[in-house]
């Protein structure tokens, strides 16, 4: 059975973690146990080592994307990748998107370097449409003001951007990743090109049901982010709530519909 994690991360020697190899190995080993057939992953610069995680410098963006591409070559088919870019450096971001997608990346990852509805994101959305790839936007649910470390971006702003670019598929990152998910789910209801990624450490009772009520199984994507155990828990709970066909959509079919054709094999 196909299972696509649309929100994964890996580490590398150029990043901030001394235990990078252990963490990567742990993700892959746990993924095998869970049955993940493809990790769609990104590396956010150097994870804070030489520029902030959510404000990666252009050099660090390249370094992280290079490491991500190396991982996809080491694990063909098992790991696919997003091109992480910083929209404050428009030309660089567009070059990096072209470079990454040409090398086999299948999506664009935006951290929290600029508010999600800022015009600086428009050229990136145009590139996404031209290449036919989705944008995974880091979101802290219900974040109306700037906090240290990342610029505010919540579902309201992402939906504003999505309405400006109705032909682009946007992934609202980690509904369980912290913050008021109920606020986000109210925002995304009427915006059909925004998909909800179920990842994050949150396993709140009622969250999955509210996702289903807000966007239905046709706009939900399975993912884990930093905690594969919570991803597995939500997957198991979904099997209790939904039909096989509905779960298949969340496991991979919705992802297959928004990522480039054949990103995940034949399913």
């Amino acid at each position: 059975m196909t299972l696509v994690d649309v929100h994964a991360h890996f580490h590398y020697p150029g990043g901030s973690r001394a235990d990078w190899a252990e963490r990567n190995a742990s993700r892959l080993a746990a993924g095998e146990r869970i049955g993940i057939t493809c990790h769609v992953a990104s590396i956010l610069g150097t994870w804070g080592r030489t520029s902030p995680t959510y404000f990666p410098s252009p050099d660090d963006v390249i370094s992280g994307n290079d490491a991500m591409l190396a991982l996809t070559r080491q694990h063909p088919g098992k790991i696919r990748s997003y091109a992480c870019v910083n929209p404050n450096y428009t030309d660089h971001a567009l070059e990096e998107i072209s470079r990454g997608l040409a090398a086999g990346m299948i999506g664009i990852k935006l951290a929290a370097s600029r508010r999600a509805d800022h015009p600086l994101l428009d050229p990136i959305c145009v590139a996404a449409r031209q290449h036919g790839v989705p944008i995974l936007q880091h979101i802290w649910q219900h974040r109306r003001k700037d906090w240290p470390g990342q610029e505010a971006s919540d579902a309201v702003e992402l939906c504003t951007l999505a309405r400006r670019h109705p032909e682009v598929a946007f992934i609202l990152a980690h509904i369980g990743g912290g913050g008021d998910w109920l606020h986000s789910l109210h925002a995304v209801r009427g915006v059909p090109n925004v998909y909800v990624d179920l990842s994050g450490s949150g396993v709140d009772g009622g969250m999955v049901e509210t996702c289903l009520d807000a966007v239905g199984p046709g706009r939900m994507l399975w993912g884990a982010d930093l905690t594969l155990d919570t991803g597995l828990a939500k997957l198991r709970y979904l099997t209790y709530l939904l039909s096989h066909e509905q779960i298949e959509r969340i496991r991979w079919r919705n992802a297959a519909a928004i990522f480039p054709k054949d990103s995940f094999g034949a399913g």
């Binding site: 252990e22 963490r23 990567n24 742990s26 993700r27 080993a29 746990a30 146990r33 869970i34 802290w140 649910q141 219900h142 912290g178 913050g179 008021d180 998910w181 109920l182 450490s201 949150g202 396993v203 709140d204 009772g205 009622g206 999955v208 049901e209 930093l226 905690t227 594969l228 155990d229 919570t230 597995l232 828990a233 939500k234 198991r236 709970y237 209790y240």
Partner: protein, 263 residues
Amino acid sequence: MRIDVNAFLGRYAFRKVPGGSPASLLETMDRIGIDRAWLSNLSAIFWKDPTEGNSVVYLAAAQQPRFRPVPAVHPGLANWKNSLDEAVKREAPCVRADPSFYGVDPEGGEMRTLAGACGEVGLPLMMAVRLEDGRQRHPHDHAPELTPAAVRAIIRADSKVRLIVTHADREFIEQVHFGSTPQEAARILWDICWIWGPPEDHLALLLRTVGLERFTFGTGMPLRLPENSVAKLDLLEITPANRALVESGNLKAFRESDPGARR
């Protein structure tokens, strides 16, 4: 045998949460494979007198042998010892207190006195670090999270005190465990519900560094999906024997370890 020490009946005050009745809890336990659950009253945590909710958990436990009652004791109320006496009389496995929700100083004299009294009667005291992620709480939900300093203060209050601490993460546990003497640390049992699994592997690390014997199974349901606590054990490299210790064996040993020996 899988025992969930961290389950709730009742309604959450700040958002809609499915479940909360004895029947739905039983259905969930069957779905997950949980044999027994220790029940606290979620609604009553927010009441001025949380002990008014104890009758609900006593009744549920009287009607269903898979349930055990976890009554609340509010050390800021007059005659609070009556609640403790009733817990002993009704053979509750422990009592709970949520000081920040009660408006009581978590490391103040009232809590230390309560902890000491629990130690005297041989009952562990259960405390939750949090109920929800602090980043998503209701604008009017201001009760501070329990701090590692408070747990260290309470465990030091009396050598007979035993604590079951729920909803703690890796950093919290490490700050208490390594900020305590081995004798103090041995009187604390941690539930696993808020500890991360792979790829960060906090649970695997803590089982090695803090000790497997210090952890027990808990879910936080229905506020949290109970599938999560099972999933993190399923993803752990652990022998069946050690898994059984986490799922119930450590809890049994902890209950039999009453340092006051006055059961």
